[in-house]
Symmetry: D2
Subunit: 254 residues, 4 copies
């Protein structure tokens, strides 16, 4: 499992997104409250944002987030209108490496996943590879289920005209590949250069938790509410929502 | 590029293989003498050996070998009849990660590669993936050319009855995939549980250097002679040699 | 806080000490049961042992112990009659670095500490430095309370003829330095080339947990019982015990 | 040895300081041209800057600078009017750790050193500790000569009213401690919240190289000229210069 969060709105410093909230991702790395699997998210973390010239940018570290001595300085110096972050609780057998550490970026797409495909053995991997062109397979640079899911999304964006359509097609591919013995937990956060998409979904399992909060000039999404005093709305199970910085744009069923 | 070395013979401590020689792999990490490409091998290193119960064992570190403070202690405490090691000079664009750090192990096979496929872009990767079953593709956990070569070897061992035949078939696959614009430097060291195989080979390029030295109770192979006073024999270009601990068993042309 | 363990007896492989026990230090890194402070020991770990020629040897990693991919191979290949290990839960403000990762070695002494000095601020540090010769201060290569305690022990071994006497003098120094507002948790494991010394002690606080278990050919000591079926004896608070591989040699009060 | 550089002037992105120049510190990490000692600076690196609210900020990594995958993103997102950076070539025996990685920060002081004290053994360390109050000793969190030099500077700032005076007093302390058998290479860059100070100095050795270049809206200082087309002025041996963003303020002899 992992814990993830996103922000879209008026430009803010990283620390306001990542460090300041009472139940920040840092707190959720060692004391998550709503994890189905595992008790910790200490296997690295990553943050994605947009540079001034709107280039998706990434910072990753394979150490537990609480032990990164660079984070204070980065927190007060980096600023952006968009933030995505993930603290990782690696599924045993999936290596702790920069390649496996989320978020992932490909061109304008930023992607992060909370969940797992379980078991993620060679049988499932081989079936997922069947859904991918060699060109997209060649972009997989690690061995985590999340990397394969991101590849699958890229594959479906080639044939679908919108991100929600690609996500819906992707989930259908996964369903065709996963029989009843495979649990797939499939919460995703995606930014495509314009909008933020978040889905809460699972196959053969309960869905991981997911919330959003609409502020005066921003939207936040997180696995667990980041703050105590703001209103956090739980996502319906098997739902996909698109957001801009003003709030919810559209609701989809998965 | 990288520098690699192997030892097969009477059981010795790691430090006698890795640290003691005048022109050890540690020396070759910061002062190699015969590299075609690059000037350094500072992008991590790895050592493979057999445990007492003959299980292929691995130690890897993504830091330069000279900065690994564990190495002195391991050098005087680990012993084996078989050693393979690699100090890595990563090709730009191929990540520095444990997954990409050599040697690689799969079941009883131990594998290490010195060289590169250049350019190792999506086009070549996609063609190499074409040669692989999904099952073997699913075992690739990083993004280096060496990992793809190891996967290709595994693929060919399924249809060939000997390691030399698999290597020959593998080189032929690579030739079919690499047109004239692709340089492939293909020095390999392989141990299969019984014998050590080493080849010096390249396509559209000169071959990297490779030497062996027959001792009284052992065989050593290395990219550059490890010692000054021993006799080191250079491999012929495009040759493959099998060794046991007594010396050369058989010579093949590639 | 940390969790620590030691073994003295017939030579065994590392994995029998570190990985095999039901409530191994690996388990205690993410699910300790008797910690007073903190909930995790994910800030690196270290193992000390004797090489064949009785040289104190060390392996350290700043990553959580569960994510060290080298450990399986080392576990089945390293063997010794002596093992000390520590999984670290760093006190906030004390850096996560190899220098701060325990155990520590100086000549024939091997040392590991479970506990803390709280607060470990400049005032306390300065007072502890007052107790040390410049020569011993110059050996402190990090910033943890455990490093200062090890330096203090070294200082007292210069004037005391036995390790127990040095430990008793050291505890008295600490008492003179720590007023009522400073809590000092002072469980130590020490090997001096011949015997194993373990103490359970604290000032202005309850003592951390500590146990030992006498086997047919060995002694084990641990912060929490490593196994379910063996008998584990709790140390009395403020006690120091010396062991050889047959069992308890002598009991001291602190 | 190390290579270091600084920038003071109109606010610029990090990449313009660190990555863009033809002979950037990245290039100087693997291909320095004017090193007296060593051939590489691959033992970690660090960058210091001022945040928007003028807080000295730090980013460090113990890997070679060329292998830091975060650097592209940080390069285009961090901006400041002040930059100091150091690529480290560790003196053997001085650990590769975040604590030893430069620059160092203490309150408003930013400090980086190029050179070494050789040999940096316990005798010298003990003599340097003699010059330090316990309070300042307690701030040393690693074991490099550079950390001891920074401590010594802090000590002298307590009794001197200006940074140049403190540097001059510090150099005199070092001279009293180092007899003829000790070579001290003592190039320093210091920022105190207002001005940049750079010195080129050595005892019992030639001075390491050091240059500055005055631009239209900035000053740059570097161990080796960063660019080909700008004019770079070599520092006189045993000189100290203070700069503001317009150029040289004052020259001192050491």
């Amino acid at each position: 499992m992992c814990r993830l969060a996103a922000y879209l709105g008026t430009e803010i410093k990283l620390f306001r997104f990542l460090q300041e909230p009472e139940h920040s991702l840092i707190k959720q790395s060692w004391a998550p409250k709503e994890m189905q699997d595992g008790t910790l998210n200490a296997d690295g973390y990553g943050v994605a944002w947009l540079s001034d010239d709107n280039i998706p940018s990434l910072y990753k570290n394979v150490l537990p987030i609480w032990s990164d001595t660079n984070l204070d300085s980065l927190g007060r110096s980096l600023s952006s209108q968009l933030w995505l972050a993930n603290v990782r609780g690696a599924t045993p057998g999936q290596g702790i490496s920069e390649a496996n550490t989320q978020p992932f970026v490909k061109d304008e797409l930023i992607f992060t996943h909370n969940g797992c495909i379980k078991p993620f053995d060679k049988g499932i991997k081989a079936k997922l590879l069947n859904e991918l062109s060699n060109d997209i397979q060649a972009g997989i640079n690690g061995d985590s289920d999340s990397l394969y899911l991101f590849a699958l999304l890229q594959q479906h964006t080639l044939n679908q005209s919108t991100i929600p359509d690609a996500i819906i097609a992707m989930m259908s591919s996964i369903k065709s590949v996963c029989n009843k013995d495979v649990a797939a937990l499939l919460n995703l956060l995606i930014y495509d250069g314009e909008m933020l998409y978040a889905c809460r979904h699972a196959l053969n399992s309960a869905c991981p938790s997911l919330y959003y909060s609409i502020g005066s000039d921003n939207v936040r999404i997180a696995s667990e509410p980041l703050t105590i005093n703001d209103e956090w709305v739980t996502f319906s199970e098997h739902s996909l929502i698109s957001f801009n910085s003003s709030g919810v744009i559209e609701n989809y069923s998965l």
